[in-house]
Symmetry: C3
Subunit: 360 residues, 3 copies
């Protein structure tokens, strides 16, 4: 991550805020952990348990909170940037160093790309090899479309969008500014809707499913990030909506007409069935399944592998998954679970024998 | 969805059946819900709870069942198409309006596409940008291959197939007429089969897995729809088979040598291990897992997130998932589940003390 | 699978080892099951229950273990290749017949492919249609890149790697020799990491997530196979590591900074959260979920759909999934599980009434 180009603490503070304690002219050119950093590196303290390392680090500067700085005794000759959230500050600076170290993106359309003449592509956009931009699509400023990306008819991408290789955006979908979509993700495939048109029962049943045309789109707000091979279906009539700042991991399925509230995070392999609304600032764990047509309140947390079958109207943490244990022990418990009604009946019989309980 | 082109009720009935009550010459040009429709729009009644809206709707015509029409009192000046299944009829008409509103597909091969000289592509097919059609492949009439699609050596696509962007069909696989495959889906990747060839145990184990070549293919019948980023593996020796009218949602995995019976629907994120046979008209819920080498009867329903580890020989609904509850409450229950044998022993001890039970 | 080209048993033994009992000059040209094979076909016995078929098969030769050969009485006029592991031997021979039957790969770069001038591509590599190889990438001998593959900046592929269509390898990732990656898989997308930078609570919360740059890569050792649409994220600082001989099925998610030990197999739809270490020779069942920051010992087996939330330090089999049963029965059990504390309290009350138990 070394960029070979130094940035002074003064420049960082000008760009990202915070206060300097120490030498504002000191330059750093990369990031490192406290115990490995040298004079040209910036470290950060986000976790109390590394506080003692701040006393001994060789780092050129340390990102630190005001409260933690007060606990540091050996400040002489050390440099600090004081900020309430050193971890977020670290992340922002890391992006600067990556950008410095990366080859500059050259605006323009790769000769192998296909851009329909009716599409509008900003001159500052970078359109990679074998990209397809279909009729009427609109591509904003500084957008990066990596190799093999397909942007469908009439789709609109906001400024600074980055679509990684082989992403597909179906016709008519809209992505806000700074949206990042990782390779292979599919935005706007048809929702799963079919009208049964069968007569008869059993072996005599005839007929077929009739496809319900999916004429909504997907509407993704600013600052959303979507993981590799994730799928977000277009709406049936109205749109599927992903609000600003939502972060979605890999291999997540979001059904048609869902609405995902702002700043909610959804971990990998989760699946959300159609027409479900998830509130703002929720945290959906990995491989969680959420039924269709339910509503989750703001600030709901669902732990990994749990299943949500009805609305959760209060914030809080919800769970329905068991942790794995020794296979033989589990099988014993599982058999007892299947026969819990018999255990209950034996308790009832005992209560009857003792005369201790009348109501149920 | 407005097409700007009106179709008379007479034309609709000529095409899709049903009877007209009212003005057969009335024209409609789009669809809308009962409470929002105007004179140029067609609405439908599929759910009893909206019956009263039929009395007040401004819709140009209403799709309705014979039984429901009898309940409507204010028929004067209203138009109806009477059909036993208004919802399916609505879906068919919606497709007509979409087709009218969509730009016409222009047959031909995009200049950026690669079609091997030994492949046969119908003149009516639409081959998009950066498509690859490999040696010996056969592409039927009116097939649409969207940008980035890859059709492998010797694969065969029936008439009216539509493959959305970046779909991969491996060599030798066959798709029937009207099959729709959404973006990123992979048909015919190798099944997961390896022969262990190890000697020794523990840290001393040496050797490797030996790949079992997968020489079957995938055989998909007519009218199947497959969701985005779904994967269907080719067979090891014989083929993996998807029968007619099967509908598969996004991110579903179907292992090698499975057979999925006609008209079965499989919701998103489900996984079906190899050599399993699922009957006709089954409904497999989201994120369901089904073990390998088992058989499900016709008309089996498995609810979301359940796991099937052995054959289900009778039709009916099967479940093994818990709904999420408050995290702390769940943890209490989960601990008790792990220790159910202790509860059972305490019941036994009570029974022994009371002399109420002898057999177990 | 018939190649039309015969290979003598002597040639097979020269190539793959084993001993011949019978006519070393006998030629075979394809493989078949014992009960279907003819004189030009090779069969194998890997399962005791088919032993009697060895006495009656018409196969030109049979792969058999020394111990099983001793049980065969009708050896006269029959040919055998004797090997300790007939199934693995069969797999190796099958690959030979497939290679004979397949059109030879023609080295070179397809005219529609894009290869950056600074990339190094071995002359023996086969670069397919619409492939993109970006700046500084290194492609080894006999590598096959199928249509639509994208190899990012500075990525390195070892000899004999095969990437199926539409695979994406992000910048800087490394694949060892003979690695196979199936269509649509994504190697090296950003891990899921964001620093919260919010202030305030409830409706008054403001701020956003700050992306943690992911500057590690993915390092995949020799002989790994990765299934279709699987995703393996790049590391945040250090690399995500897949050791030699690991086999990963379709639609699997592996988070940033995981390490998967050599020869471990992971079945379809499994998800492994970030920074988790899995030992060597483990078997992870389909749809298993494993939490982040845990460690699994060597030789751990986790059965399908189970969830692992903490480290498993001993080898052995672990489980937490229930098999589906009749829906109504399940609901009864599920309700009792939710109220297990009440059953426990009733047992306590009975014990108190009887005076049979004091401690809890």
């Amino acid at each position: 991550m070394a960029s070979g180009k130094a940035i002074t603490l003064a420049e960082l503070v000008k760009r990202f805020g915070g206060d300097i304690a120490g030498d504002a002219a000191h330059g750093v050119e990369s990031l490192a952990p406290l115990d490995a950093a040298g004079p040209a590196q910036l470290a950060f303290l986000a976790n109390q348990k590394y506080l003692s390392q701040v006393e001994t680090t060789r780092a050129g500067a340390v990102l630190i909170s005001p409260a933690d700085l007060e606990k540091v005794t050996a400040r002489a000759g050390r440099n600090f940037i004081v900020t309430p959230n050193p971890y977020a500050y670290f992340a922002r600076v890391a992006q600067v160093f990556i950008d410095l170290a990366s080859p500059p993106a050259v605006p323009g359309v790769h000769p192998s790309a296909f851009v329909d003449p009716s599409a509008k592509v900003a001159a500052s956009a970078v359109i990679g090899a074998h990209v397809s931009v279909e009729a009427g699509a609109v591509i904003g400023e500084r957008v990066k479309l990596d190799a093999g990306v397909v942007v469908g008819r009439g789709a609109r991408l906001g400024d600074d969008v980055h679509l990684y290789p082989n992403v597909t955006v179906y016709h008519g979908c809209r992505l806000g500014a700074r949206v990042i979509v990782h390779a292979g993700a599919v935005i706007g495939a048809d929702g799963f809707g079919f009208a049964p048109d069968f007569v008869g029962d059993g072996d005599a049943r005839t007929g077929n499913w009739v496809k319900i045309p999916q004429v909504g789109a997907v509407d993704i707000a600013d600052d959303v990030e979507i993981g590799a091979n994730t799928t977000i279906d277009r709406g049936a009539m109205a749109d599927t909506v992903i609000e600003e700042g939502v972060k979605i991991d890999n291999l997540v399925q979001i059904g048609h007409n869902c609405r995902i509230g702002a700043y909610t995070v959804i971990a990998g392999c989760a699946g959300i069935a159609g027409s479900t609304t998830i509130g703002r600032h929720c945290m959906i764990g990995g491989a969680v399944g959420i039924a269709g047509h339910v509503t989750l309140a703001d600030y709901v947390i669902v732990t990994a592998q749990s299943g949500v079958s009805k609305s959760l109207v209060k914030p809080g943490m919800y769970t329905s998954a068991f942790p794995a244990v020794n296979h033989a022990d589990w099988n014993k418990s599982a058999a007892l679970v299947r026969n819990l009604d018999k255990l209950r009946d034996r308790i009832k019989a005992l209560e009857a024998a003792l005369g201790t309980r009348e109501e149920e």
